[in-house]
């Protein structure tokens, strides 16, 4: 195998997206903390007139963490990992270099357009697909550019066999492309009506139940191809690199990959249990959600077993801590999800806070921790600097972990409490509680959730500070570290 030190990898695009990951992460989490506290203290809705209400900010929160923090994290790691596992530098192709930079600039423009439009209330209302058609076109262009970058780099690769991470990046590209295109089929009304109304407005190609089916086929699998698949791509690269351990089992990774691809797309129906979609679709959604435990746990177990015999690293290296806890949260979240997809459990859990609780143990624990670990691993290698402070990382880890635990445990209790109260009846069979009773009882849990979110944000800002100090004041390192990232105490 050719030594990677002989190729001069170009990280300029990876660095740009790393900055975007951190800045958009702070923005998205800050809005998240604000809207969390709005639910406990509704006066906080009045901070910025109509632009500061929960309704306007909620899509901005979800989209800035998904398409801001997460997607730029995916791009950043791709522009780092892609070159290294394919053994080719982006600098070898002026075309790919230019493409990468334009990709970043266009990405920022679209992010700006998204922020402005959502604050103005320009939205299609579909979750995680709120953008109107002009922005959709921008997103498609960005995505195609990323695809060109992936396949362009693959086209000039030296290492002929695609490493596992590349499988997952390719799947991310294809999956999101397919889902996004079909879910956002819409007719611009200005043009179809012969020049009436707002030019950016559009109407969905699907109506009612069909629209719901397409939306949750998209919505659930956006979770698959943004929250899961690319994050697995990351952990397959960064965990072995950081720990110096080979992947436990190739066969298990093969099984998990193809299993995940096959099973995930069926599971969207679990968002529509007891709705008006055909019953058989609901049952299929339920069953496939449970089957989904197999490939999910396959990947996670593969990661944990990769650390076999090397568990002392967990104590010594905060990056390993982040990644091992990420895998653990992945297992936890992929057990919780299928449980919620069982029809009788869903009857209780659906529409309650248990659902955002579930989403957040996945996103904060699995996705957030993995991206943080990836950036921490990349930083010393991209900037040739020693990580600024190990202590800061240690405290960040514990503060954020506490935040996650507060978040999901309070939302569990809140969700189950409210679900039980909605269905409770008195001795005569009448509903026992009015709706507002079931809201007021949640106040303490909403407050605890807000505090949990705040702790996570605080930890993330510590991470941003550590990143900044590493670049500006970290000790210069001459040679690239082989495995564990160098860090000052």
């Amino acid at each position: 195998m050719q030594s990677s030190s002989m190729i001069n990898y170009d990280y300029s695009v990876a660095k740009l997206f790393a900055f975007a990951t951190i800045i958009l992460g702070i923005v998205g989490m800050l809005i998240g903390v604000l809207i969390a506290f709005q639910m406990a203290y509704p006066e906080l809705n009045n901070l910025a007139g109509e632009y500061g209400t929960f309704g306007r900010l909620r899509p901005l929160h979800t989209d800035s963490v998904i398409f801001g923090f997460l997607v730029s994290g995916i791009f950043s790691t791709w522009y780092y990992v892609g070159q290294r596992v394919l053994k080719v530098s982006m600098a070898e192709s002026p075309f790919l270099m230019a493409l990468g930079k334009i990709h970043f600039v266009l990405y920022l423009l679209v992010v700006a357009a998204v922020v402005v439009s959502l604050l103005l209330g320009i939205t299609t209302s579909k979750e995680y697909a709120e953008f109107e058609w002009p922005i959709d076109i921008g997103i498609v262009v960005i995505w195609v550019m990323w695809g060109m970058s992936i396949f362009g780099l693959i086209g000039i690769r030296r290492e002929k066999t695609l490493y596992i991470s590349v499988w997952y990046y390719i799947a991310t590209f294809l999956g999101v492309a397919m889902l996004y295109l079909f879910n956002n089929m819409e007719v611009p009304t200005y043009f179809a009506s012969g020049g009436y109304g707002d030019w950016w407005h559009s109407v969905s190609m699907y109506a009612g139940t069909n629209d719901a089916m397409v939306q949750w086929w998209y919505g659930h699998n956006a979770v698959a191809f943004v929250f899961t698949v690319p994050i697995i791509a990351m952990i397959y690269y960064f965990l072995p690199k950081e720990s110096g351990q080979p992947i436990f089992s190739y066969k298990l990774s093969l099984l998990s990959f193809w299993g995940l691809m096959f099973v995930y797309l069926w599971a969207g129906g679990h968002h529509l249990l007891y709705s008006t979609v055909p019953d058989w679709v609901q049952t299929m959604g339920s069953i496939f959600s449970i089957v989904l435990i197999l490939p999910s746990w396959g990947s996670a177990i593969n990661m944990l077993l990769t650390m076999k015999g090397e568990w002392q690293q967990l104590k010594e290296n905060p990056l390993i801590k982040f990644m091992v806890l990420a895998s653990t949260f992945y297992m936890f979240s992929t057990l919780e999800g299928p449980i919620q997809a069982i029809k009788s459990v869903n009857a209780l859990a659906h529409f309650t806070d248990w659902i955002p609780g579930h989403v957040h143990d996945g996103t904060l624990g699995w996705v957030g921790f993995m991206i943080i670990a990836a950036l921490l691993h990349m930083t010393p290698r991209m900037f040739k600097k020693e990580l600024y402070s190990k202590k800061l990382m240690e405290s960040q880890f514990w503060i954020q972990t506490t935040g996650i635990v507060l978040y999901f445990s309070s939302m569990w209790i809140a969700g189950i409490t409210q679900g039980m109260m909605w269905r409770a009846t008195d001795q005569y069979g009448n509903l026992a509680y009015s709706f507002i009773d079931t809201v007021n009882v949640l106040h303490p849990y909403y407050t605890i959730r807000g505090v949990g979110g705040l702790l996570y944000l605080a930890g993330f800002i510590m991470f941003a500070y550590n990143f900044y100090k590493t670049i500006t004041a970290g000790r210069v390192i001459e040679e690239e570290p082989r495995s564990a990232s160098p860090m000052a105490a």
């Binding site: 009045n46 929960f54 109304g197 691809m261 797309l265 659902i355």
Partner: protein, 221 residues
């Protein structure tokens, strides 16, 4: 086979695409036509109601309110008859929501009045003590976007054959006619409201967002 795929990115990508693509086809296509059929009696929204629906979407009411009544006694007791697929035949987009921070609104028109909705939108806690819903005072100042609602109605009529202008169905006509109809329809709502800004604007021929929103919510039955 897998080793071979890993060395041939094109076929690898084709393989991945095939594996992920057909689940959608199998679950969505078979019942597509069935699910698109309206229940007898279901009518498309009038232009005013549609403008209200746009205001509902603009402030993401659907982030906290569902429009889907599940077939459980606890839900039908609280919200009314459970939802039928065909009732949504003219809902583009669907607004089922995925979280009930507030109650379901699928049939809110059956048990709330214009007057109640006006007070509630201005200051929810004054009507429902302990409510955590934000105040939506800006809807009393923002103008309803009748033109965009008209554009949407014309579009769905043309592209999806939504039965506007048919017997017993809402009328569209030209934009001027549609505007006139919207104003007529808004009159009853404005008459039942107290807010002076809304009334003054209406006297000048302008419809506020709140009026359209109430028209929409009243139509949800």
């Amino acid at each position: 086979m897998f080793h071979w795929l890993e060395k041939n990115p094109f076929f690898f990508a084709v393989g991945v695409f095939l594996v992920i693509a057909y689940a959608g086809l199998i679950t969505i296509l078979p019942d597509f036509m069935n699910s698109a059929r309206p229940v007898v009696g279901t009518k498309p929204y009038t232009v005013l109601q549609l403008a209200g629906r746009h205001a509902y979407i603009k402030d993401s009411c659907n982030a906290c309110h569902s429009q889907l009544i599940r077939p459980f006694k606890s839900e039908t007791d609280r919200y009314g008859m459970y939802s039928l697929s065909g009732e949504y035949a003219y809902d583009r987009p669907f607004l089922w929501g995925s979280k009930r921070t507030g109650p379901d609104l699928m049939r809110v028109g059956n048990y709330r009045t214009t007057d109640w909705l006006e007070n509630h939108m201005l200051d929810p806690a004054s009507v429902v003590p302990g409510s955590i819903m934000p105040k939506y005072g800006h809807m009393f100042n923002n103008k309803a976007n009748i033109e965009t609602a008209y554009a949407e109605a014309v579009t769905v009529k043309k592209v999806f054959n939504v039965p506007y202008d048919e017997k017993d169905m809402p009328k569209l006509g030209s934009f001027e006619e549609a505007q006139k109809l919207a104003l007529e329809e808004a009159k009853e709502i404005v008459d039942n409201m107290k807010n002076p800004t809304v009334k003054e604007a209406y006297a000048k021929g302008e419809i506020k967002e709140i009026v359209a929103l109430i028209a929409y919510l009243n139509s949800l039955k």
